[in-house]
């Protein structure tokens, strides 16, 4: 179970940075700071898949970075199984599996070496690590390119490696930032199957996406972030019901329009 309460994060703006007209009207710009995340709250229980939706620049990536402890929030809390992530970030990281929007692989290391490196950083023993790598490589169909350097991999291979790296330490919560962006249909299917398998194992999964078909196929919960606040937070069914036709795209636009109005 992961609980996020009233998360907020602002960044300093360079004095040399001149704001455009649209930026001047953006409520998130205040003084010399940009309030990227202002008030985001949601929770995701064991075995649930939560979709984080929102237009570009809404604050999704910052929210995910706050969950993953890459950034420190200005206020609010993140609890994983009751433990405060902000107060004890190093311990919390053992429980989180995070996939950033870029695959973030070391080009001169092979798929196996990339995954093993992060396993070791999570304190896994060599035996444990080898067993887990074999398990993941089978699940994600990676044995074929296990010893290929990341620089020589296709986008799909890289994404599979990045996913294996994110979950090598069997995290309690998995956070994925746009995991299917730019992938071919076969790889997208593998990634979605993998998310399903995590769900079946009872692992809460939070992932940001722009693909509403993936939301419909996988998710139990939906959170829409707009201008740094969680504009919608509810079940997939509640989200559907926002639109008269139960169309997810309409529902999404409905949330954004409501916010604007």
């Amino acid at each position: 179970m992961i609980q996020i309460n009233q998360l907020a994060k602002a960044f300093a703006i360079s004095k040399n940075n001149k704001l455009s007209d649209s930026e001047k009207n953006d409520v998130r710009y205040g003084g010399d700071r940009f309030h990227s995340v202002r008030d985001v709250s949601f929770s995701c229980a064991a075995g649930e898949v939560l979709a984080l939706l929102g237009p570009n620049g809404a604050g999704k990536t910052t929210t995910l970075r706050l969950l993953s402890t890459a950034l420190q929030p200005d206020s609010g809390s993140v609890l994983i199984e009751g433990q405060d992530v902000i107060k004890k970030p190093v311990q919390a990281r053992k429980r989180i599996g995070f996939l950033s929007s870029s695959t973030g692989l070391y080009g001169r290391l092979t798929a196996r070496e990339n995954v093993a490196y992060f396993g070791r950083l999570h304190g896994m023993s060599e035996n444990e690590l080898n067993h887990r790598i074999d398990e993941l490589f089978t699940l994600l169909q990676m044995h074929e390119f296990a010893n290929r350097r990341a620089d020589n991999m296709s986008t799909g291979m890289k994404q599979k490696t990045a996913i294996a790296r994110a979950v090598v330490h069997s995290p309690k919560v998995v956070v994925l930032d746009e995991p299917t962006t730019g992938l071919d249909i076969m790889t997208v299917q593998t990634v979605l199957d993998f998310i399903r398998s995590l769900k079946q194992q009872g692992t809460p999964v939070i992932f940001s996406t722009h693909h509403l078909d993936e939301v419909a196929a996988l998710c139990d919960k939906v959170v829409v972030i707009n201008a740094g606040i969680s504009a919608f937070n509810g079940s997939l069914e509640e989200f559907r019901q926002l639109a008269p036709t139960a169309d997810l795209r309409q529902a999404f636009l409905q949330v954004l329009n409501k916010e604007v109005a």
Partner: protein
């Protein structure tokens, strides 16, 4: 921390650019440099030795013995001219009609009875570094003058065994307290530092850019930051990687310098190199390496801080470029005449190490000053590392 260190080293070892800067450059620069030095020097002197100088001699009939010696010298070739005035001869040389003109006064008299001093003119372009014309001319004139002196002294009744006492009543034996090592060290000590320090910097620069800004650019930094290790451990792992490459570069440079210097010095007979290598011992080389250790740490911390701050590899290059210029300044000061290692210069980073290396090569190092240099450099290195670690904790640096 060591996981990060091992992984960074593994990745760097698989990178051709790193191998070039850290391994190949230090290994090959000395054979290339020494080889080039030997080649250029031997070629220049061979060419100069074989060069033929076209000459004219005015009033040759007044000194036939000298004119004959000149005529039969292998490096001189006689050219006929009607010119006699000094200005005309100078212009003819500028117009490349001949290379040298020797003007003997019309009243010059070789007879023993003539006791007047004669003033000859040697007109030529002496801007060449080797100036072989003057050398050959002086050799011939010396022989000619010696014969004249003996004849004139004999005419004055001085017997041949007294000639030396008349011509040179006092001779001085010069005893130089500077050992040959000191002389050589003074000449090339600064140059060695000038070569070693930039190589250490070059050895650390590329890895620093790769594992700092490069990591940001590839998007791997974020994933590293969410691993259950402290940011201090991450940055120290990176710091030790950059330090290692800088030191490997320095060690290979010293080994290459020692090895190739000995080989080329003894086998190819490049005198300066051979003499230098004879004077430098194992302890000197070890001390040079010990001086480079804290200096490498300063470079590693500084370069890594700049690289981590940069958003991209290219931006890191823009920051690191000026650092190279700043490092060169004290190195240039170190080779200036009169700049010596003292309590003041011992506190100036880079300059102190360069001057210490110079003193070590000369064999005149003051070990108390050497300890001060090591101490001050270590202190600055510790401060630089502390800064680098605290710099890596800042979100505004990591997520610019």
């Amino acid at each position: 921390m060591w996981q990060v260190y091992q992984k960074e080293l593994l990745e760097l070892m698989r990178d051709k650019k790193t191998l070039m800067f850290v391994v190949l450059l230090p290994l090959l620069i000395f054979p290339l440099l020494f080889g080039l030095m030997g080649l250029v020097m031997s070629n220049v002197s061979r060419q100069a030795e074989a060069e033929e100088h076209r000459y004219v001699i005015i009033h040759a009939e007044r000194a036939p013995a000298f004119a004959d010696a000149l005529f039969y010298h292998k490096n001189f070739k006689k050219v006929e001219t009607d010119l006699t005035a000094a200005e005309d001869l100078k212009q003819a040389i500028r117009d490349d009609k001949f290379d040298v003109a020797i003007v003997i006064p019309a009243d010059f008299d070789v007879s023993a009875e003539n006791l007047n001093q004669s003033k000859w003119q040697l007109i030529h372009n002496s801007s060449s570094q080797l100036d072989m014309i003057s050398k050959h001319f002086n050799d011939l004139l010396k022989t000619f003058s010696k014969k004249l002196q003996q004849d004139k002294l004999a005419g004055l009744g001085v017997s041949s065994d007294k000639v030396a006492a008349v011509l040179e009543p006092v001779t001085v034996e010069r005893i130089n307290t500077a050992e040959s090592r000191e002389n050589i060290g003074e000449k090339i000590g600064g140059f060695i530092a000038y070569l070693l320090v930039p190589l250490v910097l070059a050895g650390a620069s590329y890895p620093a850019m790769d594992i700092g800004a490069g990591e940001k650019e590839r998007g791997t930094l974020e994933t590293l930051l969410i691993c259950p290790i402290s940011r201090s451990a991450i940055v120290l792992g990176k710091f030790f990687t950059v330090l290692t490459t800088g030191l490997v570069s320095a060690a290979l440079t010293v080994i290459s310098f020692g090895g190739w210097g000995y080989l080329i010095g003894s086998m190819a007979g490049v005198d300066v190199v051979a003499k230098t290598m004879e004077t430098l011992g194992f302890i000197d080389l070890t001390l040079i390496l010990a001086l480079l250790l804290p200096l490498s740490a300063i470079f590693a911390a500084l370069l890594l801080s700049l690289s981590i701050y940069a958003r991209s590899y290219k931006e890191a290059q823009n920051y690191i470029g000026p650092v190279t210029m700043v490092v060169f300044m004290p190195l240039v000061v170190a080779i200036l005449p009169g700049v010596e290692l003292n309590w003041k210069t011992a506190m100036v980073p880079v300059l102190n190490v360069a001057l210490s290396i110079k003193e070590l090569v000369k064999g005149t190092i003051d070990y108390l000053l050497l300890a001060a240099v090591l101490g001050s450099t270590l202190l600055i290195a510790a401060a630089a590392i502390a800064f680098c670690v605290s710099w890596f904790q800042k979100e505004k640096v990591l997520f610019r």
